[in-house]
Amino acid sequence: MNKNDAVAILSRLEEKGILGETALKEINNDIFDLLKENMNEGNDIRVQEEV
């Protein structure tokens, strides 16, 4: 999963009204932390897949 995938999932769920604002912001922060933690050198911010 990368940032665009996350945005797509969140957009879809928010549009359906099944994500409240608090949950959306919480997930947003989680995703950011996840992407930041997995960031390699340069601008690669893809989440590493589990092996």
Binding site: M1, K3, D5, A6, V7, I9, L10, S11, R12, L13, E14, K16, G17, I18, L19, G20, T22, A23, L24, K25, E26, I27, N28, D30, I31, F32, D33, L34, K36, E37, M39, E41, G42, N43, I45, V47, E50
Partner: protein, 202 residues
């Protein structure tokens, strides 16, 4: 290597995407409105076209050719414009001009700046707008009534699941993560709940 990156929020990106969508919609609707307005204005093209064409395609003069051509082009422009949901106000322009044209069919000698003709045209446009508003109001009320009935039925049958799902997701992504998941497991937990969220309504 620890690389410092600006915090680009997904939330912010969502908001920006939504804003961009709205701007694009406004541009499309404005373009559609221009087409609709043009479909009315074009009917007067023969009055302001100052040139004589070398080929009138069999018509007696250029003005007649332009008039017939504009009568054919106008509905096409109107249809194309309507497909892209123009702003309602733009529809009043062709309505105004078509009502004048209808008057001219029976009284071709009346000039465009005739006060009575303008009064008739503006009056009919006002009547048209009022009629549309009344029909819209009636159906809007009917829809609201239907929506109220559906909401009451949902409550009666306890089918209002969205609120429940929203609370459940809030519990999972906020309460469970903070109160029940150990710090070392949180990364895995976030990835797993995102995978589960991705499956919803796929």
């Amino acid at each position: 290597m620890n690389v410092r990156v600006p915090r680009e929020s997904v939330w912010k990106k969502l908001a920006t995407t939504r804003y961009d969508d709205q701007v694009l919609k406004a541009i499309i609707r404005t373009f559609a409105s221009v087409l609709v307005a043009l479909s009315g204005i074009i009917l007067f093209a023969d009055k302001v076209f100052p040139y004589e064409l070398s080929n009138n395609f069999g018509f007696s003069d250029t003005q007649t050719f332009i008039w017939v051509f504009s009568q054919t082009l106008a509905p096409l422009l109107l249809i194309i414009g309507l497909v892209f949901r123009p702003y309602f106000i733009s529809i009043t322009i062709p309505v105004y001009i078509y009502f004048i044209q209808m008057y001219w069919v029976f009284s071709p000698g009346v000039r465009f700046d005739d006060a009575l003709l303008q009064l008739y045209a503006l009056g009919t446009v006002a009547g048209f707008v009022t009629l549309i508003a009344a029909i819209n109001w009636y159906f809007h009320n009917a829809t609201n009534q239907r929506q109220r009935t559906i909401s009451q039925l949902e409550k009666a049958l306890d089918l209002n699941l969205i609120g429940g799902i929203q609370s459940l997701i809030h519990f999972i992504v906020v309460d469970v993560k903070r109160n029940y998941v150990a710090e070392r497991d949180r990364k895995r937990f976030v990835k797993d709940y995102m995978a589960e969220l991705d499956k919803i309504d796929r």
